[in-house]
Symmetry: C2
């Protein structure tokens, strides 16, 4: 990948036609506040996880209408010449606030707040939603898998089950949520996620027999490698592996069958041969429930694929990006007024919002408080929103490692109910509060 691609057309056409109409009426230049939030969590989940922030900020920097892009829009008469001229100069010049990546969120949490003119803010809708809806969905599943795995490491290996670029984002996101490594090399290169992997059934089948395959792998990759032992007969494969590598064998991988029973049998075989440090890694259609069920099995690590990259039944986070306030004119200083669609059953709260997480004396979260104005700082309320973009300048980028540490802290801060696998209510309630300072 080269570094000069434009993200500008990862956009729904209606944003540009709205822009054209608003430029025509002049309303395009009204100060506007858009808010991204979830009306509810994925079905039965106790918390959501903010992910995609870093990717969104990168996409924002790349949101430029270069000549190729403008030519496409002109050739297909998507917008008129005035709009093309405006797009050619496009640079977001406003402010963006949001939850830091890795933090937990709840229904109504204002996880992204975009404050600029209508024109410059509305056209970010699709790219923002695409990134956050995908990454938050993966994160919500990944975080629960990490909880289910306890102290045992998790390898993300779902690349083959999702779009090739989603795969890279899923690897990044699962690492933020506590996965140990990924099979995906591009995630290693772009985001410094540790990578893992040794061999597949094809490698065994390629050789004259299993012994030939194991011998090849051990010679090339050393005895610390992990051998895949379920191509034919598992017990025979483990014995063969031990004959060739001895107790120095790094690991064995099981990818099929009854993983709990097989792992117990393999552990016994390994121990009988004094291969006490040889690790057993299990893979094959694992999700958070299967991982939890394997807690008592002698397993040293899990590889997770399909369930991770498809959000374990919830492949999108259902976040929305709504205009919540706008000035009724373009003069500087015109006050913002709350706006909202009339809805039955889908309450949208108008107005710019600020939020904090209320903590008890022990530092455990008790509620998500969403204010209609910036609340006064206080010790038992952790502010949730940080400035990501200041006057058009991206100021919120950070290493993936920081988001990873933040997620672990944020999850520890929640009450223990958050870590239950069973379906239930959000771990803490969300309250919409009137600030005493307004």
């Amino acid at each position: 990948m080269t570094d000069d691609w434009s993200s500008a057309l990862l956009t729904d056409r209606y944003e540009l036609t709205m822009l054209q109409a608003a430029l025509h009426s002049g309303a395009a230049h009204r100060r506007s506040v858009f808010e991204m939030f979830a009306r509810s969590l994925p079905d039965g989940r106790r918390y959501g996880v903010v992910a995609g922030t870093g990717r969104f900020l990168e996409a924002l920097r790349r949101f430029r209408f270069d000549t190729e892009v403008l030519d496409y829009l002109a050739d297909h008469s998507i917008v008129d010449d005035d709009t093309l001229r405006w797009l050619a100069d496009y640079r977001f010049s406003g402010d963006i606030w949001g939850y830091a990546e890795g933090d937990c969120y709840f229904p109504g949490s204002p996880i992204l707040v975009v404050d600029g003119t209508f024109a410059e803010s509305v056209i970010l809708e699709t790219i923002a939603l695409s990134i956050y809806n995908h990454d938050c969905a993966i994160a919500s599943a990944a975080s629960r898998m990490v909880t289910a795995a306890g102290e045992r490491p998790l390898i993300e290996m779902g690349s083959r089950r999702t779009h090739e670029m989603s795969a890279v984002a899923a690897a990044r996101t699962s690492y933020i949520c506590g996965f140990t490594s990924t099979s995906n090399l591009q995630a290693g290169r772009l985001y410094q996620v540790p990578t893992a992997g040794t061999s597949a059934h094809a490698f065994t089948l390629l050789h004259d027999n299993e012994r030939h395959a194991f011998d090849s792998q051990l010679r090339a990759l050393g005895s610390g490698t992990a051998l895949l032992v379920d191509t034919y007969d598992v017990d025979r494969a483990v014995r063969c592996a031990l004959e060739l590598a001895g107790p120095e064998l790094g690991g064995v991988r099981l990818d099929s069958g009854d993983l709990a029973m097989t792992a117990a049998r393999v552990r016994k075989l390994l121990d009988e041969n004094e291969a006490f440090d040889t690790r057993i890694v299990v893979t094959g259609d694992l999700d958070e429930y299967a991982i939890q069920a394997l807690a008592v099995a002698p397993v040293d690590g899990y590889g997770v694929g399909t369930a991770l990259v498809t959000g374990s039944g919830e492949p999108t986070a259902s976040l929305v990006y709504k205009l919540v306030a706008r000035a009724r004119g373009t003069d500087p200083g015109t006050p913002l007024e709350p706006v909202a669609k009339w809805s039955v059953g889908k309450p949208s709260k108008g107005g710019r919002k600020w939020s904090v997480r209320r903590l008890d004396d022990s530092g455990t979260a008790t509620a998500e408080l969403v204010y209609d104005a910036e609340p006064e700082p206080e010790p038992l309320a952790r502010p949730l929103m940080r400035r990501l973009v200041a006057n058009g300048e991206v100021v919120g980028e950070e290493p993936v490692e920081d988001a990873r540490e933040r997620h672990a802290r944020s999850l520890r801060e929640l009450p223990e109910t958050a870590q239950r696998m069973s379906r239930g209510e959000p771990a803490i309630p969300t309250y919409f509060e009137q600030s005493v300072y307004t």
Copy 2:
């Protein structure tokens, strides 16, 4: 996007470690045949749809280990120097056969067959699976939605609910399956998919009131535009739209509420005002079942988002890429031998395969026949596999429009049961046949 990106790291690490081990043992140079197929269709679906072929061929052309990629692999000690040197020269030099894009498939259909050395073929596994698993999942859902919609047009508008690059692929795929257009501008640019879209609730909320918003949109986009009429009160909005645009109004969009009841009321209002040609487009959490349920409502088009881009409950197609045959040596002419993992409940058939769709006298498909050798041509058996890559040269690229026409033909060829929305068995059975010519 620029044109010189590499797809080489959209790959699982274990492919490169297997490569290293196989180069070490020499088995890397054995002729090998890999096959991509589905063990079953998505739950209850009657047929699958091949999609991603064009994208895979593009990714294959871009599968090059340039200096940046090699530096990453070297710096992180992913593979050894011999392997790096081999990768630097990598060009796939074999043959690839596969089902043409848009054709239907069934359990066991060999939708992609890669015939080359083990080394050059194994490292294509992840990129091939990522592309086909994503695109086939979307296609399977999209095709059913097109059937449900009958003659009415479908707009793909799910970009915001999926990864930003999956969105582009989903737009392309749904167009192949018969959608009329997409909201996604990048799909318009890259794949010449027609684009559509006018305005969102934010546009109405931005203005002083709904009349102000409608007036702005009509002035900028003309009376042929579609107005979104459900921000406040639908009936009032439709009356206002008609006052401003008259019967020339192009369309109205409904995005919430009981779409069937509201559409009937709006149609009546429009007709009373002689706006007989004003179209009613409905959007908002539609899937194939909701579309079918709206068949009797006075609706002129559907916009589909979430359900399309998430495969309507089946976000991945569960295709696998398996080594099915290899030579037991590297001398030219060494015969291929079938290979397969031992499995219970997951039958894998070893050996290179060829397939045809058996037709009856009327041209209706009756069975998928998968042979262990190339069958003799005959009039009532449509050959399904075409050469996509010949001696390393991509020969199977085609315009998206061709795949779109092929899908319509392929679906018409299936028995009528294929078009049922209810869950059931595959529309035709798959038979594995021994060729009389072997």
